[in-house]
């Protein structure tokens, strides 16, 4: 196991790690945005209590729905005023709790954004419902962005994994080649293929694990550095989302990378010894 091969594995894994960090952060941001996704189901002023109960129960029973909260017209007015700040008093001076221009509503939170349109369609069809709204474009953009980043990161991940396997394959092949004579003798004496394979697989896995550990250390410094800069300059991300905390990211990367290193090492070394076992 040479320093050069460890470093080659490290460089491939660092790039994988950067991609992985981006994916963790995109998912982290999306999770937060998803948590804020809601449909506002506005009720008719003359909706009966029976209709209101039916709408509430029916929406809550939907498997895509996380929670349903009632917001009275008075609360809605207060919330709206609060969101606009000081000027709202002037704007809404003619409105009091009794004649709020905003109807009563149910705020429906969803588990995932995928079926938001179905829930919306179901809600607007119900008796006693005046209208329902949700950020249709935001959801669509969010979904397509998630898909896009996932596809791109999987492609890069696959290519770099192949490169890492190839580096390990070549390194172990050199070791196997230098012990070709020994392997032949072992085969003649009656060693099983697994008996011969295991030391090389261990060596390959160690190469993968060393590479993974060193790259985790590099990624850790890199992420703290980038996180510091971004936290300093970015005051807000869309919809109040934040970046994933460095400790959470490093823990995830550490666990995945050690396993990933072992896997890459095992695959790489298994391929490299295959040819030499046919004696």
């Amino acid at each position: 196991m040479s320093i050069a091969s460890v470093l080659s594995v490290v460089s491939a894994l660092v790039i994988v790690g950067v991609i992985f960090t981006i994916v963790i952060n995109v998912n982290h941001i999306i999770d937060q945005i998803e948590g804020n996704l809601e449909i506002k189901v506005y009720l008719l002023d003359d909706a009966t209590q029976l209709q209101r109960d039916y709408i509430y129960n029916n929406l809550l029973a939907d498997e895509n729905v996380e929670s349903v909260t009632y917001e009275s017209r008075q609360q809605a007015l207060e919330n709206f005023k609060a969101s606009l700040g000081e000027d709202s008093e002037y704007l809404f001076s003619g409105y009091t709790d009794g004649n709020s221009p905003i109807p009563d509503s149910y705020i429906v939170k969803l588990k995932t954004p995928e079926n938001i349109h179905d829930v919306y369609l179901k809600a607007v069809e119900m008796d006693g419902v005046r209208d329902a709204v949700y950020g249709e474009q935001t959801v669509e953009k969010l979904l397509s962005f998630t898909k896009f980043t996932n596809i791109i990161s999987w492609v890069i991940f696959a290519i770099l994994s192949l490169i890492a396997v190839f580096i390990i394959f070549n390194t172990i092949k050199l070791t196997v080649f230098s012990r070709k004579n020994e392997i032949t003798i072992m085969k003649y004496v009656g060693a099983t293929n697994w008996y011969i394979r295991i030391p090389f697989i261990i060596e390959g896995s160690l190469l993968g694990v060393f590479g993974a550990l060193i790259s985790v250390l590099i990624l850790r410094s890199l992420y703290y550095f980038v996180y510091g800069i971004l936290i300093g300059s970015l005051t807000t991300l869309p919809l109040g989302a934040t970046l994933a905390s460095p400790s959470a990211v490093i823990t995830q990367i550490f666990v995945y990378f050690v396993l990933y290193g072992i896997l890459l090492g095992t695959i790489g070394s298994s391929f490299s010894i295959k040819k030499f076992l046919h004696v």
Partner: protein, 226 residues
């Protein structure tokens, strides 16, 4: 014990046969020379016994079993019953004489105590008791071949295959190696030796099989010229 039935071997379709219609019976405990010029088919025959090479046609049975039908995972266990000695010794330079021999037992995952007991005994048998800690590069050719023989017999094989075992040795040393192989044979091991050392073959007066261009041309007891 070993039966070659109409064995033919051609490595490539457009090449000549390395072996052609070989019919041969070898009994347990025999001592056999296989002689012939280079390219006569001696090595192919030996490799076939190790199942390193498959025949193009015919059947090869060892202890009643068609060894070409052995599954891949059965092969190591079959080979444990066969010892092999090569012309170029094939010792591991990084291991001592002792380690080169005990290594063969470690591979078959023998009990460590048994390895400690048996290795010095085998060293004694091949006359290298005082060379246990030496490295192969410090030994003479004859001594290196003795180490290789020790390694090949430590797992008590039924058959010992030797491919030109004296090819790199002088006549006196060769005679010593042959005597050692003869001693091993007297303990019940079937010994098959491929060689072109005719003088040696004549001196030993054992069963001699002559191959020529892949054909078995003679199978006699006594010597090459008899």
């Amino acid at each position: 014990m070993i039966t070659f039935q109409n064995i033919s071997k051609r490595y490539d379709e457009d090449e000549n046969y390395a072996l052609r219609n070989i019919n041969l019976d070898i009994k347990q405990g025999e001592f056999i020379f296989i002689v012939g010029k280079s390219g006569a088919g001696k090595s192919t025959l030996m490799k076939m016994l190790l199942r390193e090479v498959y025949p193009t046609s015919g059947t090869l049975k060892v202890s009643g079993k068609n060894i070409m039908k052995l599954k891949e995972k059965e092969l190591p266990y079959y080979r444990r019953k066969i010892g092999v000695v090569f012309q170029d010794f094939r010792l591991l330079e990084s291991k001592t004489v002792y380690e080169n021999i005990s290594f063969a037992m470690e591979i078959v995952q023998a009990n460590p105590k048994k390895i400690q007991q048996l290795t010095p005994k085998i060293l004694n048998t091949v006359g290298l008791r005082d060379k246990a800690r030496k490295y192969p590069s410090t030994l003479s050719g004859g001594e290196q071949q003795r180490v290789a023989i020790a390694r090949s017999i430590i797992n008590s094989p039924n058959i010992l295959i030797c491919d030109e075992p004296t090819g790199n040795l002088d006549p006196v040393t060769s005679a010593g190696i042959m005597d050692l192989l003869s001693d091993i044979n007297s303990m019940g091991t079937t010994v098959i030796i491929a060689t072109h050392d005719i003088t040696m073959v004549d001196r030993m007066k054992r069963r001699v099989i002559v191959l020529d261009k892949g054909h078995l041309v003679s199978d006699k007891i006594g010597g090459y010229y008899n």
